[in-house]
C-alpha cells in the first residue's frame, strides 16, 4: 500500500528543511564557532582564541549593566503584567450577574476584551514610535502636556522620560518608562488568555462550591485561581522571553539605542552595538560570544518551562 513512501517523505521535507538549516541552524552553529575567534568583520582574517571572548564578557562593564537591566525586566515585566491581567480578568468575569454558578462576564466584557487586546495586534515598532510622541521631553508631548495641565509637573521642568537616566529605586528612570509600555502592551493578551482559561473551568465545580456556601470571592480565590495555575505558569515563561527581548522599544525610543549614557542598555542592544556600529576590536567574534551567552540564558528559561508544563495537568 505504501508505495513511493520514501520519495514522498523526502520530497515533502527537503525544501522546508533546507530553508530552515540555511537560515536558522547554520547561522546558530556559525555563531558558536565565531565566538571562539577574534574575527573583526572587516576582513576574513580570524584566529582561534579559545574562551578569551567569554572571559572578556565577564569583565565588560557594559555587559554587566545590560545583564542587570535584563534581570530587572525579567522580574518586573511578568510580575506586573500577570498581576494586572489577573486583576482585570477577575473584574471582568467575577463581576458578572450573581444569580448563576460559574464564571460569567460582566456586561460588555466582550467589548472590553476587544479593546484591551488592541496593543497585541500592533507591532512593537509602531507602539514604540507612538509612545515616543507621547513621551516627548518638552511640553508638547501628550503626557507632559497632561501633567503640566493638571499641575503635577512644572512647565519649565518637563519630565525627560526615555531621555532621563536618573535612578529611581536604583534603576534608571528610562527603564521604568519602557517597562510601563511593555506592561501597557501585554496586559490585554494575558487577560484574554486567563479569561478563556477561567471559562473553560466546568460549571459543576462552581455548583459544588456554591452548595458548600462559598461566596463569589471565596470561589474565585479557592477554586478559580488554583485551577489557573498552569496557564499562569505558561504566561510567566512567555513573558520571561519577552522580557529578555525588549530590544524593539530600546532601539526605537532611547537616545543612541541604549542611552542616555548606556542607562538603558540590554543584552541585545550591546550585542548589536558591538557587531554593527562600534570600533571595538574583534567585534564579530565578540558579538557572537554575547549571542551564545544570551542563548544559554534563554535555554535555561526554556528548561524551566519544560519542567513547569510537564507537571501533571488537570483534565476536565
Amino acid at each position: 500500500m505504501r508505495h513511493g513512501k520514501t520519495r514522498f517523505v523526502v520530497g515533502f521535507l527537503a525544501l522546508p528543511l533546507a530553508l530552515y538549516v540555511w537560515y536558522v541552524v547554520w547561522p546558530f552553529a556559525q555563531s558558536i564557532g565565531y565566538s571562539f575567534t577574534d574575527w573583526g568583520g572587516y576582513s576574513d582574517e580570524q584566529h582561534y582564541i579559545g574562551f578569551a571572548n567569554y572571559v572578556r564578557l565577564f569583565n565588560d562593564e557594559l555587559i554587566r549593566i545590560a545583564f542587570w537591566h535584563n534581570v530587572f525586566f525579567l522580574i518586573t515585566v511578568p510580575l506586573i503584567t500577570i498581576g494586572l491581567a489577573l486583576f482585570f480578568a477577575f473584574l471582568l468575569n467575577v463581576g458578572g450577574r450573581g444569580n448563576r454558578a460559574g464564571i460569567r462576564g460582566v456586561w460588555g466584557s466582550g467589548v472590553y476584551k476587544i479593546i484591551f487586546f488592541f496593543p497585541q495586534v500592533l507591532s512593537l515598532v509602531l507602539i514604540a514610535v507612538m509612545w515616543q510622541a507621547i513621551y516627548r521631553g518638552d511640553d508638547q508631548g501628550l503626557l507632559n502636556g497632561l501633567l503640566i495641565k493638571t499641575g503635577l509637573v512644572d512647565k519649565d521642568h518637563p519630565l525627560g522620560f526615555v531621555a532621563d537616566p536618573t535612578p529611581f529605586l536604583g534603576v534608571p528612570a528610562v527603564l521604568w518608562w519602557i517597562l510601563f509600555i511593555a506592561v501597557w502592551g501585554g496586559v490585554g493578551f494575558y487577560l484574554v488568555l486567563f479569561s478563556a482559561a477561567m471559562q473553560a473551568i466546568p460549571k459543576d465545580i462552581y455548583e459544588a462550591a456554591l452548595l458548600d456556601g462559598a461566596s463569589r470571592f471565596t470561589s474565585f480565590f479557592r477554586v478559580t485561581l488554583p485551577l489557573l495555575r498552569d496557564t499562569v505558569s505558561i504566561a510567566w515563561v512567555y513573558l520571561g522571553f519577552i522580557a529578555l527581548d525588549m530590544y524593539a522599544l530600546v532601539f526605537v525610543m532611547t537616545p543612541s539605542q541604549g542611552g542616555p549614557n548606556h542607562a538603558s542598555e540590554i543584552f541585545a542592544s550591546v550585542l548589536n552595538f558591538t557587531a554593527f556600529n562600534s570600533s571595538r576590536s574583534g567585534r564579530y567574534g565578540y558579538a557572537c560570544a554575547m549571542g551564545v551567552a544570551l542563548g544559554i540564558f534563554t535555554m535555561i528559561l526554556a528548561a524551566l518551562q519544560l519542567r513547569i508544563t510537564r507537571r501533571e495537568r488537570l483534565e476536565f
Binding site: 515533502f12 537560515y23 536558522v24 473584574l91 463581576g95 448563576r100 460588555g108 479593546i115 501628550l142
Partner: protein
Amino acid sequence: MSTAEIERNVAAADAGPARASTDRRPKIGSPAKDSVFSGFSHAFLLVWGAMVVFPLAWVVLSAFKDDAQILKDPLSLIPNSLHWDNFGRAWGAGHIGAFFLNTVIIVGGGVFLTMLLGSMAAYVLARYDFPGNRVIYYLFLAGLTLPVYLAAVPLFVGTSKLGQVVPLLGTNSDVMLILVYVGWSLSFTIFFMHSFFRTLPQGVAEAAMVDGASHTTLFFRVMLPMARPGLISVGIFNVLGQWNQWYLPVLLMQPSGGEAKHQVISQGLIELSVNQGYKSDWSGLFAGVTMAMLPVLIVYIIFQRQVQAGLTGGITK
C-alpha cells in the same frame, strides 16, 4: 488546551446571556451587593480601556491636525480642519505607500510559503515513520527558544556573501526576506501543525489510500482540508508575526550604495520617527503611524474572535 476548545469556550460565553432567562440556579449575594461590585469592576475596566484607547485615538486625531496646532495645543483632540495632506505626504515623501505595498508582498509570499512548507513538513513528521524523524522534529523545535540575535552576525554575513553570487538571495532583496521569514516561522508552524495532524483519524487516510489516492493527493485533498481550523490559527499567528517583524528587515534590508529601497513598514516608521527629529514633520509622522495602524486594527476587529483564539491558543498548546 486546544484552539478549538478555546473557540468553543468563547462561543459558549457569548451564547450566555441568551440562555440566562431560562436558567434557574441558586443565588449568590444580594442584588445590591452585586451592583456595587459591578460598578467597581466597570470603573477599573473603563480606566484601563481609556488608557489603551486614548493614546491610539490621540495619534489618529493628531494625524489630521497641522503642525501649528500639534505644537501649540498637543492635548486638543479635535483638529481645527481636516488636513488630509498629511497622509499624502507620509504616503509619498515618507515612503509609507511604497513600504506598505512591499510589506504586503513580502508577508503574502512569506505566509503562503510558511503555511505550505510548514504543514508539509509537519504532516510527514507527524504521520510517517522513518529513520531520523525524531531528530528532525527536535531540530525544528530547538528554533523555538533560541533568540534571533544569536544568529544575527552569521546571518548577515552569509546573506551578503550569497548576494555577491545570487543577487536575488542577497541583502536588500524581497525574495531573500521572504525565505528568511519562512525559515524563522517554520519552527512554530511545524510545532503547532504537528500536534494537529496527529489527531486526525487514521481511518480516513486508509480509506483514501484504498481508493487509490497517492500520498500527495491524500495530503492535499484529504488531510489539509481537515486541518483547516489549525491552519487558520497558525496562519493568523504568522501574518501578525511577519507583518510586525522589524529586526530581520533592519538587519538584512539595508540598501548599499545606489540600490533601490525595498523596505518594510516597520522600517518606514522608524525612518519617519528619526526624520521628524530634524524636519519636525509631526503631522506626517502621526499620519504614517495611523496608516500603519488602522488596517491592522480593522482586520483585527472583524476577525477578533479568531485572532484572540489563534494567538492565545498558540501559547497554551
